[in-house]
Amino acid sequence: MGEFRFMQGNEAMTEGAIAAGARFYAGYPITPSSEVAETSSIRLPQVGGLYVQMEDEIGSMAALIGASASGKKAYTATSGPGLSLMAENLGVAVMGEIPCVLIDVQRSGPSTGLATKPAQGDVLQARWGTHGDHSIIVLSPSSVQDCFDLMVTAFNYSEQYRTPVIFLSDEIIGHLREQVILRSPEELEIVERNEPTCDPKEYRPYDHSVGLAPLSHFGSPYVFKVNGSMHDEWGRPCARPDNADRIIRHLSEKIEAHAEEIAITRKYNMDDAEIVLICYGGAARSALSAMKKAREKGIKAGVLQLVTLWPVPEKDLLAAMQTAKAVVVPELNLGQYIGEVAKRNARNIPVRGVNRIDGQPIFPAQILEAIEEEAAK
């Protein structure tokens, strides 16, 4: 079942997107995500899809919205500087409830930073990069297999919840080459768009009074508008306070109310873990190595890996905070997700970061040192 391959994370994302049914890519290549563009430009035409190299990332995001509103599963890939440019139109996709997938292969920033070096500096930008209250789904892969499998999940979530999904990778995983099984179609569960079946005259694409409204596509008999301004159930401009209140609450609740269904986590040696490493993405690989070394030394270390970063996987995070003696959060930033961990620290246990921002990966020895210090307390 499936096809065994040795490939790069970025290439596997392209294969995952295609397996999920994506047939449109618009983007502007940027290190360390360029291989997604490169392989998409080759692979999409082979499956009847379309690849467009855009003038910039603002245009890329606009093209994604147009393609998705026209019924195609659409994706793009960028890095931090490009995500900044996409942030404006990302808001349009949030407001218009247009499914699409944005890959961010994080590199060291701010600005051009260290263009070829890894970082995890966009964790909060992914959550709050576009302005205004909203919720969003962010997934973080830690292997080439994840790059394939989770891309399918990303598209599924995006259709299921009518939302942009950010696929928050990093240079470590994007450029890592390792084995992957490209799963065959029969192994995959694919969520297709929930298209309306009502009388076209009755179609209200933003009426979420009975579950999430179905989404049609441009060119169908179901006429609908995508409006970045406050709009009523039909998509017509509407500035009524009660309507604005309804929309903003809906944009958050349609995701937050399903946080546990969206949550993907992995637990390693958590049954008896005293020192818990809470981690994600490329840093999870360092954490797992450190955990293994700590166990060899007889320290009860465990790993809670967060694959879904946003919405926060509350249940597993709270459970870990309930039982741990101390928590270590390794991140390739100055401490972005550790804030979420600290917010849930009801028992006031030690929570410490292991941070690296010099363009180098976190070495397992650095995490091991923190584990040993906490274990000795």
Partner: protein, 185 residues
């Protein structure tokens, strides 16, 4: 017994080290059915600044994909040699003797191979990375020559038979020289 082998292939951008490492790791994963990873580091410049690729081959799942306990470090350029010479414990350092003037006082075992010269003799200096691949295969035994050449043929698929044959020849020469170095140790 250590079931994991770690190899760093270093030099400057443009020397084909990432391809060299990729083909070794791919051969190990696809043809030898081992776990293998390839990670790389390079600068924003296309050519001329420090770059490396790290290959890990293991019987078990590999977590951290960068080399921390090397078995072999290959240095194709003085900039890379300066970074590793005397700093890699008991690991073997293999340097390109056409580019690198070794520091005889540096701690740890080191061996030179005239990689550039041999690649030129074969008819194309660009085969240096495949020649290096042969030497690595011989010194570490992480891949068999058959598996490695299968990966080479797959990579050069679509190129002329002449190109494929030349690269296979480069691998064989590197492998032969690697075996000689191994016996010297």
């Amino acid at each position: 017994m250590k079931t994991q082998k770690e190899i760093t292939i270093s030099g400057v951008g443009g020397q084909g080290m990432i391809l060299c490492g990729t083909l070794i790791a791919e051969a190990a994963a696809v043809h030898e059915h081992k776990r293998a990873t390839l990670s790389s580091e390079y600068g924003v410049e296309t050519r001329g600044t420090f770059a490396k690729s790290d290959v890990i081959v293991s019987d078990e799942e590999i977590f951290f994909p960068d080399v921390t306990e090397p078995d072999l470090v290959v240095c194709l350029h003085p900039a890379a040699y300066a970074r590793y010479a005397g700093k890699i414990g008991d690991a073997l350092l293999l340097y390109n003797s056409d580019e690198v003037t070794p520091d005889e006082s540096a701690a740890g075992p080191q061996k030179g191979l005239a990689i550039t010269h041999m690649a030129k003799e074969l008819g194309n200096p660009q085969t240096a990375n495949i020649l290096t691949m042969g030497a690595i295969a011989a010194l570490t035994q992480v891949v068999t020559p058959e598996g490695a050449k299968e990966a080479i043929r797959k990579f050069f698929k679509g190129k002329s038979d002449k190109v494929i044959a030349l690269n296979e020849k480069a691998f064989d020469l590197g492998y032969e020289k690697g075996i000689e170095l191994r016996e010297e140790r």
